[in-house]
């Protein structure tokens, strides 16, 4: 037997031939011709083989664009249109079921409190939550997060990549989060706008990640002063499609750490991005931050595309050409949102027990309101603070527990009423159609409402005068 004779000659199942004819010119022996009959299954005209002159050179295999088009003889048995699964035989590589690779909780020894800025505290929280992958693009007033991570992560053999843009940043997170790693970014309003496309993809593909948006003055380039004018964006506008993500609004450096840790748990629990919104004031505020007594060493979830044998069968994808399939996917996503709404509402109620006037505020304005409340209580007024910690889902259930006694709602915010809109929407969904009268203290353009403005507003209310 000669070596030439050992080389396999081609065969083709007409159903898998699209009749492109690229093999015809590849054959030096003119074995291949275009057919003349339309294949009834495909509606295409497949090629015809006459192998009497074939020397098994194999060039036609490399000219055929179809994976199951021209194939070496001997593999015929592997192809049966009717029921391929029964004749394909064992695979050389079978993607196994992913093996469990769980997170572990690592106890930490006691340490003295840190004295750090809010942004720094969020970074420390992320590190303790097991985040070792941070991607970012510098933007004031969030740069300290990236700077700190660039310093700290190499000490932990982690990765900080400064991306070419926020668009690239969010897509790096799509890759690393899709690989099952805990990743995050620090950004500010204009940068967050650029990330929205990617966030929509992440929600669609169910990829977890944590975004810290230190909100600044807008619209457009605006300025670098503190504003809360991204509330609409994070609660209602996370890119295209039916999207939602849990949105957390810390108010102190300590809460920046605690919420950063919580965010990773929530992101992975729901396989969904989580957004932390802060303001420049909070990011810059130095305070005492106590460290937790445990940290997380994350595993790799079963769904991840990690790039190993165990996870080979997985896919990260937001594409579904079937309308029915995509609607089902949306239904499932909305079930997740419903679960978040039911289980993840968080709020801080400060002196609400007998409050007749209830201030609603989040982030630093909530802290300023606490200062104002102290002054007002010294004047004998019954004023409390309702502070949403989750802006989405809005913690309406906690609000309803105190709303009966309240004669006036005062919404304090550094935006044109975006928090108030969330409040009104939540009341409406809760069928509260006659809420207490509302008024507001609003500043915009990079200015927070001041303690004095809150005090003056409350003292000017008709309920008080």
């Amino acid at each position: 037997m000669t070596s030439v004779a050992e080389r396999p000659k081609p065969f083709v199942l007409p159903e898998y031939c699209k009749g492109c004819g690229r093999c015809i010119s590849s054959c030096t022996k003119a074995c291949i011709t275009m057919g003349t009959e339309i294949n009834p299954v495909t509606g295409l005209v497949p090629i015809v083989l006459d192998l009497s002159r074939c020397n098994g050179c194999g060039l036609c295999f490399e000219a055929c664009p179809e994976p199951y088009g021209l194939r070496p003889q001997g593999e015929e048995a592997a192809f049966e249109l009717v029921d391929p699964s029964t004749v394909l035989g064992p695979r050389p590589y079978a993607a196994p079921q992913p093996e469990p690779w769980p997170d572990t909780s690592v106890p930490l020894p006691e340490r003295e409190p840190l004295i750090v800025k809010g942004t720094y505290a969020a970074a420390v929280g992320a590190v303790l939550a097991g985040c070792r992958h941070v991607f970012g693009y510098p933007i004031t007033p969030s740069t300290e997060g990236a700077e700190l991570m660039a310093k700290v992560l190499p000490e932990l053999s982690g990765v900080f990549v400064q991306a070419v843009s926020e668009v690239a940043t969010v897509n790096m997170m799509y890759g690393a989060g899709g690989a099952g790693k805990r990743c995050m970014t620090f950004t500010s309003s204009p940068g967050f706008s650029l990330m929205l496309e990617g966030i929509s993809y992440m929600i669609g593909a169910e990829i977890p990640a944590v975004f810290v948006n230190v909100m600044r003055g807008g619209p457009g380039l605006g300025n670098i002063g503190p504003e809360q004018a991204d509330i609409k964006l994070v609660c209602r506008g996370l890119g295209h499609g039916n999207t939602h993500a849990i949105v957390l609004a810390p108010a102190t450096p300590q809460e920046m750490l605690d919420i950063a840790m919580l965010s990773f748990e929530l992101a992975f629990k729901y396989r969904n991005p989580v957004v932390i919104v802060g303001d420049g004031y909070l990011g810059q505020m130095t305070g005492k931050v106590r460290l937790p007594r445990q940290m997380t060493e994350p595993g790799i979830p079963e769904w991840a595309v990690f790039g190993d044998r165990s996870h080979r069968g997985n896919l990260m994808c937001s594409l579904d050409l079937s309308e029915v399939g995509l609607e089902q996917h949306n239904v499932r996503l909305n079930e997740k949102y419903a679960q978040m709404t039911a289980e993840e509402q968080r709020a801080d109620l400060y002196r609400c027990d007998d409050a007749e006037i209830l201030i609603v505020a989040c982030n630093t304005p909530a802290q300023l309101a606490k200062g104002a409340i102290k002054e007002l209580q010294d004047k004998g007024l019954k004023v409390g603070l309702f502070r949403p910690i989750t802006l989405w889902p809005f913690p309406i259930e906690a609000l309803l527990t105190v709303l009966d006694r309240v004669e006036r709602l005062v919404i304090v915010e550094a935006s044109s009423g975006q928090l108030e809109d969330e409040l009104r929407l939540a009341l409406s969904h809760a069928e509260v159609h006659a809420p207490p009268p509302m008024s507001h203290v609003r500043r915009m353009g990079g200015i927070l409402p001041s303690q004095d403005e809150i005090v003056e507003h409350v003292l000017g209310l008709e309920e008080v005068r």
């Binding site: 159903e15 898998y16 699209k18 492109c20 004819g21 690229r22 010119s25 590849s26 060039l59 490399e62 055929c64 664009p65 994976p67 199951y68 194939r71 070496p72 391929p84 590589y93 930490l108 020894p109 006691e110 003295e112 303790l128 700290v152 000490e155 932990l156 053999s157 070419v164 843009s165 668009v167 690239a168 897509n171 790096m172 799509y174 890759g175 690393a176 989060g177 690989a179 990743c183 993809y201 002063g225 420049g280 810059q284 505020m285 130095t286 305070g287 940290m295 060493e297 595309v305 790039g307 190993d308 996870h311 080979r312 896919l315 802290q367 300023l368 606490k370 200062g371 303690q451 004095d452």
Partner: protein, 477 residues
């Protein structure tokens, strides 16, 4: 020829029913099928199927995950190289491949491909250039030839729409890539070579060498309006003169991309990296300084940028926290903070700071006249104003009832010490001497901790603090 890297049945393609289970979505004669076959064979021959992550683009090859039995990620339009960085850094052992068309890579994704190539991270990019937008229906691509008719250049591309973009040349001009080649598919010889080139590009990633890029001139018979064979000729006759074939860069000798680290979760290392310590700072204060306020004292330190108000405020905060109280410091924002001015608000609370702002401070430290004029009147009755008498002359006006003033020449004292920079520490000393908020040792401990990296500066700072303290306490009596 035959590879197990393709799924035995394309279950993601129309649920794997009928002929869809074994045929691609590509039009007859499309080059994508060939490139993907060569890629699958290379993955197979290198034995990296289990480790491979294929990043599918947006475009005709968006459905690559229907076919490749590897880890699959579908990326947003143009962003595959950024997604690839995410995957590669998440698992440096994975083999990450971006498969992109000309619209995806050379138009919308230019920033991502250029920056990833320049980074040089070991990922492999297969760039399929067929000079036209396929999936959207035959519009102009960045690589469309001059004169070529498309649906958005109905009379043929003119230079008014720019020249075709030569990506292999552009990428090869960067420092990051180790291997860049342009290949084609239009005859046996080119196909054999294309296969070899794709395998080499992948091999370089497996070896950890660096970023590799293969541009493949490909046929789109449908949108060229040509039979597949004629499309092959069109590529050969029209594309090759503009997009010359060949190796554009081969810098693989002796090069290796730095090892991407694998993260550590050792608790001690982690705590140390974030600056946590077991060292409990010594306490010197017997009690909360209730002689100023029973539970929450606010300070404002105001000056120009460079006066060091923020550093002084930081040391005050650290001192309070070291004594076991709560404290916050914020650099002031708002319209009044423009123009190089620098104001800091500090709270010291027995239990918890509520509002971090200091609209009515107990104590104002003013470094210049405008700061004193602006904030002097905000100091609450019974409070205190401490100011730099070296630069502030004349009467201090508009103060509330019972506000005491303490004049200390911050600048003068610092100059005498020969270090103008320490005037903020003189001010801090004056604050201590005038208010006795905490003992001197509390502040000196915090100053030493702040200057840990600049030990040589500690004596002069201690001296500055003590002089400020002395001058102030003499005035208060």
């Amino acid at each position: 020829m035959s590879t197990s890297v393709f799924y035995r049945q394309f279950e993601r393609h129309a649920n794997g029913e009928g002929i869809n289970a074994h045929s691609t979505t590509y039009c007859p004669g499309c080059g994508h099928g060939l490139v993907q076959k060569f890629l699958a064979e290379a993955i197979d021959e290198l034995g990296v199927q289990d480790r491979t992550v294929l990043v599918s683009p947006v475009g005709c090859s968006v459905f690559s995950y229907y076919y490749f039995d590897v880890g699959n990620t579908q990326a947003a339009h143009g962003r595959a190289p950024a997604v690839a960085i995410g995957h590669k850094t998440a698992n440096p052992d994975s083999i990450v491949i971006c498969y992109q068309g000309d619209g995806d890579l050379a138009s919308i994704g230019l920033a991502e491909i250029v920056s990833t190539a320049q980074l040089g991270i070991p990922v492999t990019v297969i760039f399929v250039n067929n000079a036209i937008y396929g999936m959207t229906g035959g519009q102009m691509a960045p690589t469309t030839l001059i004169g070529q008719r498309t649906t958005t250049t109905p009379k043929g591309r003119t230079t008014l729409a720019g020249q075709p973009l030569k990506m292999a040349e552009l990428i090869s001009g960067l420092d990051g890539p180790v291997f860049v080649e342009r290949v084609a598919l239009f005859d046996n010889r080119r196909r054999t070579h294309a296969k070899r080139s794709i395998k080499k590009a992948l091999e370089l990633q497996v070896a950890g060498t660096g970023f590799s890029f293969v541009e493949v001139l490909s046929e789109c018979p449908v949108h060229l309006g040509l039979e597949p064979e004629a499309a092959e000729e069109w590529v050969s006759d029209n594309m090759v003169p503009i997009f010359p074939l060949g190796v554009k860069k081969d810098a693989t000798e002796g090069i290796a991309f730095p090892v991407i680290p694998t993260a550590t979760f050792d608790p001690a290392t982690t705590l140390s990296a974030v600056g946590a310590t077991t060292e409990r700072p010594p306490r010197f204060a017997e009690d909360f300084p209730a002689h100023i306020d029973p539970e929450d004292i606010s300070f404002k330190l105001a000056g120009s940028g460079g006066d060091g108000a923020q550093t002084a405020a930081m040391i005050l905060t650290r001192s309070a926290i070291n004594e076991g109280f709560d404290s916050t410091h914020i650099p002031s924002y708002g319209p009044e903070s423009r123009g190089g001015t620098s104001y800091a608000d500090v709270h010291v609370a027995l239990k918890e700071v509520m509002s971090p702002a200091a609209p009515r401070p107990h104590v104002l430290v003013a470094f210049n006249t405008p700061s004193l004029a602006k904030f002097g009147p905000t100091v609450r009755p019974g409070g205190m104003v401490i100011y730099d008498s070296s630069v502030i002359n004349g009467r201090v006006e508009g103060l509330a009832d019972r506000v005491r003033t303490v004049a200390v020449p911050f600048t003068g004292v610092a100059s005498e010490l020969g270090a103008a920079l320490v005037k903020n520490v003189v001010a801090l000393g004056a604050l201590q001497g005038a208010t006795n908020v905490f003992p001197t040792e509390t502040f000196l401990t915090a100053i030493r901790a702040t200057l840990k990296q600049k030990c040589a500066m500690i004596p002069i700072n201690e001296e500055a603090f003590k002089m400020g303290s002395k001058l102030a306490s003499e005035q208060v009596g």
